[in-house]
Symmetry: C2
Subunit: 216 residues, 2 copies
């Protein structure tokens, strides 16, 4: 990794991750070459954007044939993937936490959810979807010992900040926050907020509004 010439934004990283999955699909459909405009349509951006992103990967295409899909995928992996699987910790093993464990379990060679944490004594010291569940009191020490770099927050809103603080004390540098609250982190820690309930509320709101506009 770290082959990039320039700095890279979170949006650019998101696009690379999307391109890779789109390229994987094209490969599965028997394709070996792709044009920037084809990727652009599928990714919902402009062909110029696609070409800029690919330029950063130092992969060259030909005007007549486009880009070789395998080369593009290798280029993206050299940027996005670590050499060894990255260790992830999960706080909160309720409905959402279990769903996350089931969803990620075994399907992503580049991530391993190494440890889960919960305060519920009936969950602690069990193995859930292949992952050991520790008492949440041990979060800082387990994160340190296991050298976990990424934390997933799936606890209720009221507990989220404390869990985030402990992940950061343990040395985590990236957090994915599913709790419906904005969390504060020290400078230099990266956070993504995924507020699933707020997203559904927005969708439902605009669906009703559109329905009202149509006079249904």
């Amino acid at each position: 990794m770290m082959k990039l010439k320039n700095d890279i934004s979170d949006k650019a990283v998101g696009r690379l991750s999307l391109y890779r999955r789109l390229l994987q699909e094209l490969l599965e459909n028997g394709r070996s070459q792709v044009f920037s405009h084809e990727l652009a349509i599928r990714a919902g951006c402009t062909p110029a954007q696609v070409r800029r992103d690919i330029m950063n990967l130092e992969v060259l295409g030909s005007p007549a044939k486009g880009y070789e899909i395998q080369k593009l995928m290798a280029g993206i992996s050299s940027v996005l993937d670590s050499d060894a699987p990255q260790k992830v910790g999960l706080a909160g093993v309720g409905n959402l936490g279990r769903a996350i464990l089931a969803y990620f379990s075994g399907r992503t060679p580049q991530f391993v959810i190494t440890a889960a944490f919960d305060s519920d004594p009936t969950k602690v010291n069990r193995v859930i979807h292949g992952c050991r569940c520790y008492p949440v009191d041990e979060l800082v020490s387990v994160v340190r010992e296991e050298n976990i770099q990424v934390g997933i927050v799936a606890v209720p809103a009221a507990e989220a900040q404390q869990v985030v603080d402990e992940f950061c004390r343990g040395g985590v540098l990236g957090l994915m926050n599913f709790a419906p609250v904005r969390v504060r982190v020290p400078v230099g820690v990266y956070v993504e907020n995924l507020d699933v309930m707020a997203a559904l509320e927005r969708v439902a709101f605009f669906a009703r509004r559109l329905s009202a506009v149509r006079g249904e």
Copy 2:
């Protein structure tokens, strides 16, 4: 609903939804009044933004005591909630779809996942987390008959566009897309993309980069 004087953006709807959950938490902690700057800190925006959003709700506060939490919550609900529970359809009952069913099941009075759809014959005609699972061939007709307005897409990337087309033919006006691909919809249909894997890839990427910067 539809009490708003002005048009409202998706970001504003998202903030209202977040404020409501933050207010609920304050209520549970015994508070009855709140200042705009307190909400702003928790929501990660400016006090001026909070006051503008509240002005649209036609709720008044006092400089000395702030806003009454109950009134704010009622104002937000009059905008965000429908009078009757809104019907939601779910396409895809794999790991992610089941997780979504388990997560939403019973916890949101304003939404009901009325029908799930899958192509797997072992899932069809069963009740999963309280929701009936139909064959995906019946998606258009069930969505029409049940008057489902919101669709959740939890199928693999390769099947997402077809499912989206069928939801739209059935009359759905809002879609929440968990498939890792951008989908095309007719004009006037609202889509939220929640690409969980791309989000984790971004978090992992920046965690590694930050770790490299720190020289660990």
